[in-house]
Symmetry: C2
Subunit: 235 residues, 2 copies
């Protein structure tokens, strides 16, 4: 069981292996929102690259979520804020979603044999599943516009730590080693550690502190979303 961490969607092609499991990570906030949506009874989601595609789904009667640069796009009822999915309106629905980084990460990895959605909210169920599968794992950070970001890296580090502790896997990928080290110095207080992260600052400016605190709290939504064809479903 080889574990690698890919820091940006742009670099995914360097990591791709046909039978590896890909975990897409966009902690602030796309994958946290997706996990929250399924925990609150959403039936399916359709990740789409462009806002136009999300709008098309909307015109065809679907609920739709669209976000760019941390803000909801006008005309959409949902964005990537997890709190938007915590109500009865979403129950049983199929929702199209397009976000700045997260849906692009899903798009680049679409040739993977299995794509899972990871966030602190479903850390333990994700790791238990990966251990049971016993296949190679690529942790794909969505980053910020193809640049490295801290929050996705810390989550990747949490997964690397858990898998290497429980399975005893030897970690040889430099970015996996770095992620694990960064998580080890941050885990006592993820929120404070991220105080200087550019993306968290960006969210602070948008008054999203409540979202950030929620997204950094592990295991609040023990569900595991997975791609099946063009849909995300709950495993």
């Amino acid at each position: 069981m080889n574990i690698e961490v890919c820091y940006t969607p742009q670099a995914y092609h360097l990591f791709h292996k046909d039978d590896a499991i890909v975990v897409v990570i966009d902690v602030l906030r796309a994958t946290s929102a997706i996990v929250t949506a399924f925990f609150n009874g959403v039936s399916k989601m359709v990740p789409v690259s462009t806002v136009e595609e999300a709008r098309e789904y909307q015109l065809n009667g679907f609920m739709a979520a669209a976000e760019r640069n941390g803000e909801v796009i006008e005309g959409f009822e949902l964005s990537n804020s997890p709190f938007g999915y915590m109500n009865n309106k979403v129950k049983g629905k199929t929702i199209a979603i397009s976000t700045t980084n997260g849906t692009q990460a899903i798009e680049v990895s679409k040739k993977a044999s299995k794509i899972l959605i990871g966030s602190f909210l479903n850390l333990d169920v994700l790791c238990e599943y990966l251990i049971a599968q016993n296949k190679d794992v690529i942790l794909l950070c969505a980053g910020w516009k193809n640049k490295f970001n801290l929050e996705d890296t810390l989550f990747a580090g949490a997964v690397v730590e858990k898998l290497s502790n429980e399975v005893g896997t030897d970690i040889t990928c430099d970015s996996a080693i770095a992620s694990k080290h960064l998580y080890s110095i941050a885990k006592q207080d993820l929120y404070s550690f991220l105080a200087n992260s550019s993306h968290r600052n960006r969210l602070a400016k948008l008054d999203l502190e409540r979202d950030v605190k929620y997204c950094l709290t592990p295991n609040q939504c023990p569900v595991l979303p997975m791609m099946e064809g063009k849909y995300l479903i709950k495993l």
Copy 2:
């Protein structure tokens, strides 16, 4: 003075700013070899992307260095091992050099207003120069075949730490913050910290422990190589 760290040549276009100073970093071993060469009296170097170009210089009577995957290419007198440059034969010479990652990093950044060569061997003179210039800095890690690597990141972290301590610059780039954290936990014993790095393991297999120890020892070669046209010269 804004300081950013770019982890791979592939991502450089996301960081490029016309008047920023780029520092190319390939600690194991291209930039360590270049710094060592100038410290030992080399007059000029010509970084070239391909082995064929290096061979052409050789046919025209130049000394030439070529390395791929950690090994010297047959027919070349030099590679990226710093010890090859510690003798009188190189004094006053112009040497063409092509390496797996380092020369590619120089190539992608060629539109930068200034390109400097960084390694632990010239850490202090590099930082003093950057502080005096007081311009934006992009620390460009050569990485390993466009993947993140630990040793270049640690050196970037050393530079970020020095500049932020001495100039009090506010660091907002996530990869700069991560590099500084990683350096802070590694700096007491860089060699042991890197024990698990894939690249260092690769070098260990090639029996290059002596090179690695040398390349991780700061300030042995207080010279600052810089690109001028197609040449590297000593500033």
